[in-house]
């Protein structure tokens, strides 16, 4: 969602970004603290898949009207993130399916 037009017109508000970062970290700490200890392995593959949201950055770089080399870097990054999304969610689900009560 990089927007070269608006980015040039008004510089991004980095303070509000920092603000979001700090709040999100606290939410993360609060939520993760309650995660069942049984599920730490699937938790890691799940957060891994979620942080592969970096894919949106890669899409923006790969698909925009940029020089080929830059788009190629974006494309490789897109492939790497997509691999994480697919394998991360699938293996998380595969593991979670196994946790059964008696």
């Amino acid at each position: 969602m990089i927007d070269p037009v608006t980015a040039q017109a008004a510089p991004p508000d980095y303070w509000s970004m920092l603000f979001v970062f700090v709040l999100a970290t606290f939410i993360g700490l609060g939520v993760i603290r309650r995660v069942s200890r049984l599920l730490y392995t699937p938790l890691m593959s799940l957060t891994n898949a979620i942080s592969a949201i970096a894919v949106v950055g890669s899409i923006a770089v790969t698909g925009a009207e940029y020089p080929k080399l830059i788009r190629l870097l974006g494309g490789i990054a897109l492939f790497a993130s997509m691999t994480n999304i697919v394998s991360g969610f699938l293996i998380t689900d595969r593991m979670l399916k196994m946790f059964k009560k008696q």
């Binding site: 999100a24 200890r37 799940l46 979620i50 997509m82 691999t83």
Partner: protein, 469 residues
């Protein structure tokens, strides 16, 4: 209009990601977590893809297809290989961040020099350093876990290692400051590539001194770095969704690292710069006593007569792929009315939660898996503690041997059980290279051999011998 849609999609995706993590608090709701996560991801991807700036679609489709082609097989690895798959995915996450950072820098230099403000340039440098060090560090960790031949398994140490490591990082940071101040000078790109090279090198140097027993902590730390590199990417691209999702991942890695460090009674710096498993020589505790070996028949008899059996699994169970045989043993014993519990040490195995996943795979109900703190008060009532390929996590030396590298580490009190049966692959000391006096205790009996084979024999004995008594 499209801007508003994109922002709304980002807010929706963030909310779904938070719910996803929230549902992981109980195995009963955990599968909703995947649904929420996937939905959030699809929403975010589509909202980005339909932005008007996205004009080339061929490569996007190609990369997505390639991601599926590689990702699906990666999700089907045996569960014993999950630690290396996880390390590999941290590597991919780091690579993506590093490459996008590089692309943004090159783009800024060639097209929009005005966008390379000090703040944005700092974010790019942070993204590139974090991304590339996570990339090579995680690749090394994955290689060690997979036991790739050309990556040494044992920690590699040399004099002045920490000075070299910190030196590399300091030089990279200093070059970073130079590039932030002069982003578009004629030589800036060279300096930038220098930073990339140093980050790549630092990732390798950071992991070579680390041994297998520290992998749970190291994987968690790399998890945190991968999240932080996504945060840095969010700052570079002015994208709040990336910042929030990266922060969630980063805080998850942080919490897991803290839990792992506590479970080993060590600090972050000690794990990263302490080189577990090499420095110390074997700590001799008192006089050397001899093992007492037990036969399969004898061990089966001990188990049959017990009313509470506590199984303590370790990495040896994973290596031997013994979890399914353990399940058969569990069935044999519960059939006789014997209570069987599994005592799980937080750092047993090679990543957080490793043992739980393996036992769940073998269909052992999660209600039988008990945390260390909960099982320890019951250990004196335990008739047989069955140690399967665990070593340091049951070593009583952790309680009092001040010189020992595991001193102060909380352990499962296997030694307090009435009888201890320990299955061990070889007569060599464990990963940390420390003797384990549990094995020479008066009430301990050893079963030497591959865990899968030994437990298979026990099961056969119990199944066949049940009529004899």
């Amino acid at each position: 209009m499209t801007y508003a849609v994109a922002q709304a999609a980002a807010i929706l995706a963030t909310a779904l990601f938070i719910f996803s993590l929230y549902w992981m608090n109980d195995p009963k709701t955990a599968r909703h977590a995947v649904v929420a996560g996937v939905t959030g991801m699809v929403v975010a991807v589509l909202a980005t893809w339909f932005q008007p700036e996205i004009v080339h679609h061929g490569w996007i489709v190609l990369a997505i297809v390639a991601g599926f082609v590689v990702g699906v097989p990666l999700s089907l690895v045996p569960l014993t290989a999950v630690p290396q798959r996880t390390a590999l995915s941290h590597a991919f996450g780091g690579l993506a961040a590093g490459l996008v950072g590089t692309a943004e820098y090159l783009l800024g230099v060639s097209e929009h020099p005005a966008q390379l403000t000090a703040f944005r340039m700092s974010a790019i440098v942070a993204e590139v350093i974090l991304g590339f060090l996570t990339f090579t560090g995680s690749l090394m960790a994955a290689g060690k876990l997979q036991e790739v031949k050309w990556i040494p398994q044992r920690p590699v140490t040399y004099p002045g290692q920490n000075v070299v490591n910190i030196g590399v990082l300091v030089v990279a940071a200093a070059l970073g400051v130079v590039v932030v101040m002069h982003p578009t000078a004629a030589w800036s790109a060279q300096v930038f590539y220098g930073i990339v090279g140093l980050a790549v090198l630092f990732g390798v140097l950071l992991i070579i001194p680390i041994g297998g027993a520290d992998m749970p902590t190291v994987i968690s730390i790399l998890n945190s770095y991968a999240g932080l590199s996504a945060v840095a990417m969010g700052f570079v691209l002015n994208n709040k969704l990336l910042v929030t999702a990266g922060a969630l991942d980063g805080s998850s890695g942080l919490i897991l690292s803290i839990i792992m460090c506590r479970a080993m009674n060590r600090s972050f710096t000690n794990v990263l710069f302490g080189a577990f498993g090499t420095v110390q020589k074997t700590v001799t505790i008192g006089e050397q006593k001899a093992w007492k070996q037990e036969t399969v028949e004898g061990a089966a008899q001990l188990l049959e007569q017990a009313s509470l059996v506590v199984v303590i699994p370790g990495y040896g169970m994973a290596v031997a792929q013994a979890q399914h045989k353990v399940r058969e043993l569990y069935d044999q014993l519960t059939k006789r009315g014997i209570t069987v519990k599994f005592a799980i040490h937080p750092v047993a195995g090679r990543m957080p939660g490793h043992m739980n996943v393996l036992l769940a795979e073998a269909n052992i109900p999660y209600t039988a898996l008990v945390e260390m703190e909960e099982i320890n008060p019951d250990m004196p009532q335990c008739d047989v503690a069955l140690v399967i390929g665990a070593n340091d996590v049951v070593n009583p030396a952790a309680r009092y041997a001040k010189g020992s590298p595991i001193y102060g580490m909380p352990i499962i009190d296997a030694d307090k059980a009435k009888t201890v049966l320990a299955i061990k692959r070889s007569k060599n000391p464990g990963f940390a290279g420390i003797d384990n006096e549990l094995y020479v205790q008066d009430n301990t009996w050893m079963l030497f051999g591959d865990a899968k084979a030994v437990i298979g024999d026990l099961v056969k004995q119990l199944a066949g011998g049940s009529g004899l008594h």
